[in-house]
Symmetry: C2
């Protein structure tokens, strides 16, 4: 990424972040990459983006330093998309959006789409940023996610149309 000259850029980190991730398709692509779904067709199936929309988002994510392309097949040449440290660190924002979305954009009887187990204590950490059981700050490497039956079905259905 080439940062804006400081004289032109706002000092606000939220506004700066929105130059890179202020678009719902970009956020959905990052969600998928964080779920280790990293090939074009599957990204398209799971985000619902058109090929053009997806290609432009991936290109920008690469230019901005969140994603690198890695060949996984030579003939024909095919790439997969892998998060850099910068991209992987977006996990904190995804966790916050998950918490807000589960609380405010769904009815409680729908249940959580993904249930987490907090590896250090083996319990459900809840929707906060620290484990509701053991009080430790949540880290990506210490969480195991399990998709609900409903969410798993939904994803399998989309995948079958890829």
């Amino acid at each position: 990424m080439t940062p804006l000259p400081e004289s032109e850029a706002t000092a606000c980190p939220v506004a700066r972040s929105q130059e890179l991730v202020g678009d719902r398709w970009t956020v959905l692509v990052l969600r998928e990459l964080l779920m280790d779904n990293c090939r074009f067709d599957e990204l398209q199936a799971q985000t619902g983006a058109t090929p053009q929309m997806l290609a432009s988002r991936l290109k920008k994510l690469e230019a901005d330093g969140l994603v690198v392309r890695r060949p996984y097949n030579q003939r024909p040449l095919r790439h997969e998309y892998v998060l850099t440290e910068m991209g992987a660190d977006f996990y904190g924002v995804i966790l916050a959006l998950r918490a807000w979305g589960e609380k405010w954009c769904k009815s409680p009887r729908e249940g959580l789409a993904v249930k987490f187990t907090h590896i250090p204590c083996g319990k459900d950490p809840g929707l906060g940023t620290v484990c509701q059981h053991c009080g430790v700050e949540l880290k990506r490497a210490e969480l195991i996610g399990t998709q609900s039956a409903k969410y798993k079905r939904e994803r399998a259905e989309r995948s079958s149309h890829a």
Copy 2:
């Protein structure tokens, strides 16, 4: 907000959230409302949105249940925009975007745009979701923000053009 019928909606809370807040202007408006900047002209000045863009975002935020309009003047009738509990709870996402943006979208020598003091311990809580000093999970009501001189100047400059 009228939620999507469950059969049409994805179970994913991140995707659900993006139907409401998956737009950079909406995020910037929420940032301003969380800073208690709640009148149209000032919102326009600080976000850099056109009046049309701002009006459409505020209307959607109101329809989605994040914002209510409240009259502050009768003749002529003028409204200010106030966050509901749902809107105020978006603070967790703004904090996460702030942390990611400070870390990845700015050079370290630029310094933080806003420094926080964690009221319970009186120290700088850092960029995480728990206070780096006392280990307690950060809550909006327990943080005092102080704008850097540079960010304060930038906002005053924008305000003078309102």
